[in-house]
Amino acid sequence: MSHDILAIVPELMLVVTAIVLLLIDPMLPHHGRRGLSWLGILACGTAAVSAWLARNEQFSTFSHGIALDRFTIYFKILLLLVAALAMLLSEQHLHLKKRLLGDYYALILLATVGMMVMASAIDLTVFFVGLELMSLASYLLAGFLRYNSRSIEAGLKYFLTGSFASAILLFGMALLYGVGGSTNYQEIGQALRSGNVDTGVIVIAIVLLLGGFAFKVAAAPFHSWAPDVYQGAPTPTAAFLSVGPKIAAFAVIIKFFTIILGGEHSRWVPLVIAMAIATMLIGATMALLQRDLKRLLGFSSVAHVGYLLLAVVAMGQSSYTLSSSAILFYLAAYAAMNMGAFGVLTFMANAGRFGDSLDEMAGLGRRYPGVAGVMAVLMFSLAGIPPTAGFLAKFYLFASVVDAGYAWLAVIGVLFSVVSAFYYLRVIVYMYMREPEAGALEGVPSHGRSFDLSLALGLATAAVLALGMLPGPVLNAAQDAVGKILGS
């Protein structure tokens, strides 16, 4: 096996598994498909192990289009875990919706391949290929329940806004290529640092790129698709879509804003500050108004992107290692808690709730003490209360912001986190402190329970608590990951 292939072994594994899934699916009877998720999970597990085994490698390949380094590996493993968790969450739900198809798992795997390519790309074209692979698979996933108009609407909306965003990004990248004369991140960066370029073009490119990324991570002012899509998409898919693409996009953002635009930080920092504040403001205040839990989580994820953007601001300053590793750690924590929270909603949907309204959470603490306990831990984590991952992630992130000399931004950030605590606590209020309306909890079928879903919820909760109390290993991995990004 050629040395170069080593850089894409995990991706290859997933692609092969996706093809196998697509091939064997039509041959199986409906009930025979119940184990298919485990094939995908197995693939993710093996891919993660193979990615980890290459942790001491550091090289670029495919004409300097793909990098293999600690940074890439951190993101690959995180994305593979997210994909595996998403498949665990989905199984029962798809079965109940009578859409249990191998295609679904193949799409998740392909989307994950796209994300992994995005995270490893150090070339504009390779990045764009990864982005489109991820996006196309995601649009299909959002509209996967094709008998459900909500789901179709979500898929279409995601497709329209997403392709628009891709076009904007592409335009920005074209301008970068124009001034930099190369598609390689590092070469563009060098060209920009040399100073012989038209600053007007760079400003336009920065604005376009920021706009495109804002779309992809659902940052203000281009966030409004997110709650709609999460609400309409199948609940376990929403878990995947609210986490995976953001992780991949932030991997790219870190690389773009250090390798390519590191020398231009005085131009983009004010823009990102404005975006971060607007995103936190809109996410937190809009989430206050929601009564639908999926929309609430949608806006809450907008607010979390706002916090992450604060660390991007800090990245423009000298404390690059601290702030970018803060982003990496935050993404891991965010993945665990957001997937877990959507997992609880999946449980509710499987248990026969039609809406996802807050009122239906009433009395959950009595009816399902275990699930309610999980949800409570996740809500406290999302609110940033110790001893959970959400606290340490926020702590570390705000530490990097303060260290970069933006104490005032950190103050704004923590104040918004108090606002956001209100709506997370309200979920707990409904679960434990309100009684359900008469009859609301009776006759709930027991098919809501499934081993896969319980396992996923257990893993997410364990991750949230472990990252909150003993974050050492992940924190070290995040710091090592940003130590040497190839090409920077």
Partner: protein, 520 residues
Amino acid sequence: MHSFQQQAGFPILTVMTFLPTLGALVMLALMRGRPQLYKSTALVTAGATFFLSLAMVLKFDQSSADFQFIEKVSWIERLGASYHMGVDGISVLLILLTTLLSLVIVPASWNYIKDRELTFFASFLFLETGMLGTFCARDLLLFYVFWEIMLIPMYFIIGVWGGPRRIYAALKFFLFTMAGSVLMLVAIVGIAYLARPDRYAAPVFDLDQLQKAVFSFPVQVAAFLAFFIAFAIKVPMWPVHTWLPDAHVEAPTAGSVILAGVLLKMGGYGIIRFCIPLFPDAAAAAVPYILILSIIAIIYGAMVSLVQKDLKKLVAYSSVSHMGFVTGGIFAFNVIGLSGAVLVMFSHGLLTGALFLLVGFMYERLHTREISLMGGLASPFPVLAAFLLFFTLASLGLPGLSGFIGEFLSLLGLFSYNKAMAVVAASGIILAAAYLLWMYLRVMFTGTRDEEWFKLSDLNLREIASLAPLAVLAVWVGVYPSTFLNIINPSVNKLVTQMAPYVAQHGGLLTHLFASRGGL
């Protein structure tokens, strides 16, 4: 930073702190649906924790101002945070108060809670871990984690088992406290990064090292304010006290006992432990403002107590007044004032805890807390009346009981700082006598008595057992305070010595200004 320092044998602080959590987990895992068993387990766990803390007090070296029973293990190495526990005299006293109150609330709530009892008792045990950890932590990050953890069980205690407006009160309590503490978090991060020896070193959260760091005056002022606001909300000082009456009125009895008895002390403790030693310049400069706020709290709390119609609200507002003596005593920055402040904290924990227990016992019988609906209770409930009289008198500062000693010392300390202030603050004690005695009169003697009340039983043995230890300690502190003063004195002396140069620098000028504006 591999630091596995000397662990002098048995890690008593860790065992004491986490024993309640262990008990709670065992209860939750194994004892669902067996009330007698889990209640007894809760009692045994709280009892064992109390005796551990008692053993710690007995082994505590009273001649030293150093931190003792130190445990230090690296925790998040790259962040420079360690699991560092240790206690000095001030924490020891408050730990004793915590474990005692956590013990007495178990029998007091034995039959009071009807719904989800298991979670109720488990919540209190989790809360005890948070409280003990807060008093032991010698690392800022660890301290913050324990400090915030306390919010979670308290939020459930108020929100699930509270009165009619419990959800509003629980949210208000949580968000008020959180708003204060997130600003403190930013300040913690700021000083931890400023205190690094060089740009590439890990941040410094360890208190031993932080106390050696010197921060510029503007940094000190900003960080002091952030810390102080967080603690002032907890104390609570006027004007950030508004969460307190709501939380107290809605909380179940045991919740009120812990809230008033321990959680409010966290504020005073935090000021003594962090605000002052870390930011001495800023603390010295802030003295006049904080003293004025304290005096407002003393007078305002007492005045508002006078007009309360609800017995529990009366006790809640009286806490605002009493805690004014704590902040006042601390910021007098002399040995007498500071020891007085610590003693007020201890005594207020005993007395207000007992008063809330009594209000709870009355509510269990009469199903009301309205003073106007009570009256002539002394004859149907003679034992209850006797206990209420005892704790009322102790609370209003009757010499020979614990309330007097603390407030007297605190006033004495204030007097040597500024006479006019001490005189104004002393009127708070007079007002306390007014609202407490008037309350006692209306509840126990005058008013219309419902003859049905004679059919109700007086305090039973279980209830007396939960009040008796508090009464004994109240007498002990009142008659022979040296037992307790000896524990805290070395630490208090150390802090005052440490502060003396800063106070001389800032305080001299400001005292002079005050004097020339018509002071005595």
